[in-house]
């Protein structure tokens, strides 16, 4: 129980966000952003209030996958605050709003960290059920800032099936352990391609990476997302796969994964409810 006489809750920008979920891999190119956007869309369809923070300063892709109806803006009455962009009812912030789409964000780590800190502290998310943080690849400075500055309730680890991908993904899992961030599950992307004519599954990138990770760490496997044109097309066109191709297997796996994550988070919330979250002790 928080004892207000001796220790107080820290003022925190994300205090009205019920759950903060990281989507990480350690590795680039496994489909973290695709997964984050589609988990957000799936949660939205379940009636939840959702936001996405695109923490990939060097290669933001959120804007393409989830085009905004209203861009981010200065807060009308609080000049230091940022009102996030909104697309399909999902609140979003990304470096992509602040640079040309073809331009490289060639900045050093302190600047990148400053941007992330602003996204966490200055964006007016208001009340959300879930804020997804789309982690950049790697296990370095920005990941540390995200883990220190936002109290992440749980992490979704994305991998592809091949052993080479697992090398980096294991590091991301180890980082979560070091930061005491609970891992909600592993989601394997690009698991196989299913021949529509014969129904045969072809494992083009190898087989079973997600299952191997799950077996060696005890982290639940949330699903295996097949390679489907509908998924990549929806991302390229900024469309909602749950509207355009709800019957495709990728959409089904992502929807099921979002439900499993929601279930896991509710359990965590019950266990964690009585403990301190963001606190400070001012010495007397």
């Amino acid at each position: 129980m928080l004892d207000r006489e001796i220790c107080k809750e820290r003022a925190e920008n994300l205090k009205n966000v019920r759950f903060v979920i990281g989507v990480a891999a350690g590795k680039g190119g496994v489909g973290k952003s695709t997964v984050a956007v589609n988990l957000a869309r799936a949660c939205m369809r379940q009636g939840l209030r959702v936001g996405i923070l695109d923490a990939d300063i060097y290669g933001p892709s959120l804007r393409q996958m989830l085009p905004e109806e209203t861009p981010p803006a200065k807060h009308p009455s609080l000049p230091e605050r940022i009102v996030p962009a909104v697309g399909c009812g999902i609140k979003m912030i990304s470096m992509a709003y602040f640079c040309e789409s073809h331009a490289a964000t060639a900045v050093r780590a302190p600047f990148a960290n400053g941007v992330i800190a602003q996204f966490l502290q200055k964006v007016d998310w208001d009340e959300l059920d879930i804020l997804f943080i789309d982690f950049p690849p790697g296990t370095g400075d920005i990941q540390l800032t995200l883990a220190q500055e936002s109290r992440i309730n749980g992490m979704v680890i994305v991998t592809t099936p091949q052993e080479v991908a697992l090398l980096d993904v294991r590091k991301a899992i180890h980082m979560c352990h070091q930061m005491a961030v609970p891992i909600l599950g592993v989601l394997e992307n690009m698991s196989y391609w299913q021949d529509p004519a014969t129904g045969q599954k072809l494992h083009l990138l190898g087989q079973g990476g997600g299952r191997i990770l799950s077996a060696e760490t005890g982290i639940p496997l949330l699903g295996e997302i097949p390679m489907e044109p509908a998924l990549s097309q929806s991302a390229d066109r900024g469309e909602d796969i749950f509207s355009t191709a709800p019957e495709c297997l990728a959409a089904e796996v992502l929807m099921q994964a979002s439900r499993k994550i929601g279930h896991h988070l509710t359990g965590l919330e019950q266990m964690e409810g009585q403990y301190l979250k963001n606190f400070e002790l001012i010495w007397k």
């Binding site: 220190q148 760490t217 005890g218 982290i219 009585q274 606190f279 400070e280």
Partner: protein, 107 residues
């Protein structure tokens, strides 16, 4: 690395409070309460300024740390560590909960 043996919920904090001018206490999720003297924590500060880059050993002699050292503020870093702003100006150490649990057990 095994998630079956890793349980971040064991490292949750129920209470943190100042006991006197130099000591604070943490009550952990399992009900255990350990005391922490600020000068002891400063002697073991893990920050880059307090540790030798190559050996990892503390740079300052333990005897040079004022036993009456106090703090300005103590706060959490994410869900895994404390940061302590000491009155001597040191404030960059990341005291992980795992580290504090172990030190607490040692008394």
């Amino acid at each position: 690395m095994s998630a079956t043996t890793f349980d971040p919920l064991k490292l949750l904090i129920s209470r943190i409070y100042q006991k006197d001018a130099h000591v604070f206490a943490i009550e952990w999720a399992d009900g255990r309460i350990y005391d922490y003297r600020l000068s002891d924590l400063q002697k073991n500060c893990p920050c880059a300024r307090c540790r030798d880059e190559k050996t990892g050993r503390p740079l300052a002699l333990p005897s040079s740390i004022d036993s009456g050292l106090q703090a300005v503020r103590i706060y959490n870093l994410g869900r895994y560590a404390l940061r302590i702003e000491f009155t001597n100006g040191c404030s960059r150490g990341v005291y992980t909960f795992a580290m504090l649990r172990e030190w607490g057990k040692l008394g």
